[in-house]
Amino acid sequence: MTSHAHSVVQPSPLSQRIAGVIVVLYAVITMVPLAWIFLTGFKSGPDSIAYPPKVLFTPSAEGYCNLFTTRSRQSPEYIAQLPPTSGICDAFARTSNMVVVGASNFVPRFVNSLIIAFGSTALSVVLGVTAAYAFSRFKVPAKDDLLFFILSTRMMPPIAVAIPIYLMYRDVGLSDTRLGMILLYTAVNVSLAVWLLKGFIDEIPREYEEAALVDGYTRLQAFLKVVLPQATTGIVATAIFCLIFAWNEYAFAVLLTSGEAQTAPPFIPIIIGEGGQDWPAVAAGSTLFLLPILVFTVLLRKHLLRGITFGALRK
């Protein structure tokens, strides 16, 4: 961009400064709830529900301890005759007449989330990029209808199809399995993947592949060695969107899974302490659950802007 002091497209320093102040103010305000989640994870139970809300407090590992363990109430006499505490969480529990009896379900749920989210993202991208390539390069009968059909599958409320999917999965033995959830999330994401990736592949000049074909590559080799490397940005952008959806999905997870394959989103809200929700533990779980997606987003933020218009308004 060629810009000098009086360039018409370069905003004046004053307007830039005002814009900057407003945007930063907005960003800071929207971060307050998140900062609160993060802080609450390090509060003790009484601190988390103190009035007025406590900004300064003594950090406590109670939330994280309660997140990872299950405890049972015991009589003081029983606790008194126990051997010395084996860890920080055990010590915490004993101060309120509790004993750690085992690990909570958080880690298995988190692992399920990882496997299902990354599995379905990989599958969506593979299916999406191949279908998008075919739609972009070949004469497919009723192409526009097929594309609209693919997009329209996204308009269905998840609850609307949950019962038939539940009945169907029960018949084929996929209910409450990771594979079942991977296939389900892939089916939801693949429409987005096809549309996004078709936009990106349309932009890659056909001449590259044609040159490769002349050079003796097969069509499949040309696709793998010429088109795929060119479509990297699109593939990354698509992967981010698929991953965010699969990682965060709640409706299907809560309706179709109960144990084996349950992911973290239905689990975190039901962490109950004594007398209601255990907010420090909920906050700790939320923080840990938000972290991977946050890291992923910050690392790959440059691809987001291109992906988000869905390829629909590409010129």
């Binding site: 961009m1 018409v8 497209v9 905003p11 830039q16 814009a19 900057g20 945007v23 907005y26 960003a27 929207t30 971060m31 998140l34 609160w36 529900i49 103190a50 809300p53 299916l127 191949t130 390539y133 070949f138 497919v140 097929l146 693919i150 329209s152 599958t153 308009m155 409320p157 998840p158 609850i159 609307a160 199809v161 019962i163 038939p164 999917i165 539940y166 169907m168 296939l183 089916a187 429409s191 003796g216 097969t218 069509r219 499949l220 080799q221 965010i244 990682w247 965060n248 709640y250 409706a251 309706l255 989103p265 938000l290 946050l294 910050v298 802007l305 291109r306 988000i308 218009t309 308004l313």
Partner: protein, 320 residues
């Protein structure tokens, strides 16, 4: 290029000398086979996990089937389910709650999102970093967010009430965001706007960046004021993008379930009971599978129809 040692040239010659059907086999799969091979898995998956259940839902909607009584005899009831859906006052209440939610979330998110995009497009120092910060809420799990906002909205101990009372002087326990009939619809609008304004902002930003600089330069030559430039260049050219954002948010919020389910679960009473929440109640609490299937189809047809009309309007604006 015709170097005899070039393996590709040799290969080409070999291919020329081979009969056509054999050559195709050597050169790999035909284009048609590849097109088929590349599209079929996607279509098969969508047919199995999207279309087949949808057809099943349609079939169930004409029966009195109940998913919690799989052994009871199922009888066809014709269009009875559809009649009772369309005459059910609860359904109309849910539709009204959904319309209220849709209207305000889209209005607020579009205004805020476009303003933010416009300001970020001033390209002040550090705009890249702050854009990333603003995006964070939309990356989060709506269920986890809804659950946590229920904590922020607690009347006595919640941060939200405390901050409001700090700035306005109203005692923090004098109002309940999710407990009162008047405020509950706004509690879900606030959370949705907090979460999804960044999404609208991103799409608007893509729109603003797609406007070529020379148009502004030409306007400057013609001595058009900044105000005039905004109304006759910036806004019209970004309009297709704004409309696209409205479409995506509209479809998503019409289906809204997870965040609201965890924040208010439709309450108090049924003031925040959006269509999907009513659907879940009918399907998974009352187990009226036939009835809920009919309701699901009514919802799907509504979104599908509205989206179709809207896309036509969008295409007209785009091609203007």
């Amino acid at each position: 290029m015709m170097n005899a040692l070039d393996p590709h040239a040799v290969l080409d010659k070999a291919v020329e000398a081979t009969p056509a059907p054999l050559a195709r086999r050597i050169r790999g799969l035909s284009d048609r086979a590849i097109a088929w091979l590349f599209i079929a898995p996607t279509i098969a998956l969508l047919l199995a996990i999207n279309i087949f259940p949808l057809l099943w839902t349609i079939r169930l909607s004409f029966t009195n089937f109940r998913a919690n009584r799989p052994n009871a005899t199922v009888a066809g009831v014709g269009i009875d389910n559809y009649v009772s859906v369309l005459t059910d006052p609860d359904v109309w209440a849910a539709m009204q709650a959904t319309a209220h939610f849709l209207f305000w979330t889209i209005l607020l998110q579009t205004m805020l999102g476009f303003t933010l995009a416009y300001l970020i497009d001033r390209r002040f120092r550090g705009h890249g970093f702050w854009t990333t910060v603003i995006l964070i809420p939309m990356m989060l799990s709506p269920a986890v967010v809804g659950n946590f906002w229920a904590f922020l909205y607690q009347p006595q101990i919640g941060l939200f009430n405390y901050v409001v009372s700090f700035f306005s002087g109203i005692p923090p326990s004098s109002f309940e965001m999710i407990g009162s009939v008047k405020l509950a619809p706004w509690s879900i609008i606030i959370v949705d706007t907090w979460m999804w304004t960044p999404y609208v902002m991103l799409i608007c930003l893509a729109g603003l960046r797609s406007i070529p600089n020379y148009i502004y330069e030409a306007a400057e030559v013609d001595r058009a004021s900044r105000w005039r430039q905004f109304w006759s260049i910036t806004l019209p050219m970004a309009l297709p993008f704004i409309m696209l954002a409205v479409l995506f948010r509209g479809i998503e919020n019409f289906k809204m379930f997870d965040m609201v389910n965890l924040l208010t679960s439709g309450g108090p009473g049924s003031t925040t009971e959006l269509a999907s929440i009513t659907l879940k109640r009918e399907a998974f609490e009352k187990w009226r599978t036939g009835y809920s299937s009919a309701f699901a189809i009514v919802l799907f047809v509504t979104v599908f129809g509205l989206a179709n009309i809207y896309v036509k309007a969008l295409n007209r604006v785009k091609n203007r």
